[in-house]
Symmetry: C2
Subunit: 205 residues, 2 copies
């Protein structure tokens, strides 16, 4: 495996394969083909074979892939064969929705702390969490060794919170604020901005 050389675009497809394979496994399916997987995810069988072959030989010609084996391998490659602790910053509507979202734990993630800078919210409960003061963010995140954060604060606050997260040792930020963040090169950012996603589609309408 020559992980450093794998293009980002291939890495981006692996979680989609993982999700589809997990769904097949949950439905009791034991083996699949690149053709079948491709139909589930809307990607060509050739592309899937090429992507997966970057990491080694996982399937046998003619017999297809063992789903359990491929799941294990993909989880290992993506490092989600463990549970990552996640800090959530911003206890607004989106923060609440994410805090209550059931889809993280079985995919490698667990929100463990929630921050807000609104003193009126600090101390309130969201699901099983107590909202903590953003003033404590750096100290709390650093001492817990948390490497992943989700950012659901308003755009004007996002960069300064991102700076704090970086200071606290966070290396991966899922940013819901509709603004591009400036972070050091060793920190990854993924963006979720529904208006941007919608605007990608209106072009084609």
């Amino acid at each position: 495996m020559n992980a450093e050389k794998i293009p980002d675009i291939i890495i981006g497809r692996l979680p989609v394969y993982l999700r589809a394979l997990q769904r097949m496994a949950d439905n009791g399916i034991k083996t699949t083909s690149s053709q079948e997987l491709g139909e589930h995810v809307g990607i060509s069988a050739a592309q899937i074979r090429k992507d997966i072959s970057q990491f080694g030989e996982f399937g046998k010609q003619g017999t297809g892939y063992s789903i359990a084996y491929l799941l294990d391998k993909l989880k290992e490659i993506l490092k989600v064969n463990r549970r990552w602790e996640v800090a959530l910053v911003g206890a607004g509507d989106m923060g609440h929705a994410l805090a209550r979202y059931q889809g993280f734990v079985n995919r490698g993630f667990q929100i463990v702390m929630i921050f807000d800078n609104d003193k009126g919210k600090v101390g309130q409960k969201v699901d099983s969490f107590t909202i903590e003061d953003s003033d404590k963010l750096v100290e709390r995140v650093k001492s817990a060794g948390i490497k992943i954060a989700m950012l659901t604060v308003p755009a004007p606050a996002a960069q300064s919170v991102a700076d704090k997260l970086v200071q606290a040792g966070v290396k991966a930020i899922l940013n819901y604020a509709p603004i591009s963040l400036n972070v050091p090169h060793n920190v990854k950012v993924q963006y979720i901005d529904p208006a941007t996603h919608l605007q990608r589609m209106t072009y084609y309408l």
Copy 2:
């Protein structure tokens, strides 16, 4: 302009440029350069010039871009120089957060109806909306001529709702359900799945 030939990856960057330019305009800035815009969005100046030049000549060598002019042009290209009506399906936590989200209207979108198949939710209010019965979805969306929908239903329900949306004439779906959708080629789907986004980053940790 040879719109049909523009690669999807370039179209995908235009909303990010639009968002950054709008932010500059909101801050009273009148002109910018590909260098400056690049620093805001984390994309090289050369790439930005190349992307924008696909659609014509918008800047002058040395004087940079007029932000107001480029905003107008980008909105025109992305067809968000109008307001699109959007149907939201799924009035759970995420649906509620989206219904209350203030960031759509000034970027070309307005949620106008919300559906859920839970009879206990039908008739309840979310913000200014009354949740409608999913049984009425096809009829209501079709008669309103709505082309864009957001899907925030659980994964097992997502494909059948997508089928209904397609039947109703929807051409663009923003799918929050953690599952790949099968839709006809003339229907666009964008995916928002936070666990997938997180898994793209753990690879690098």
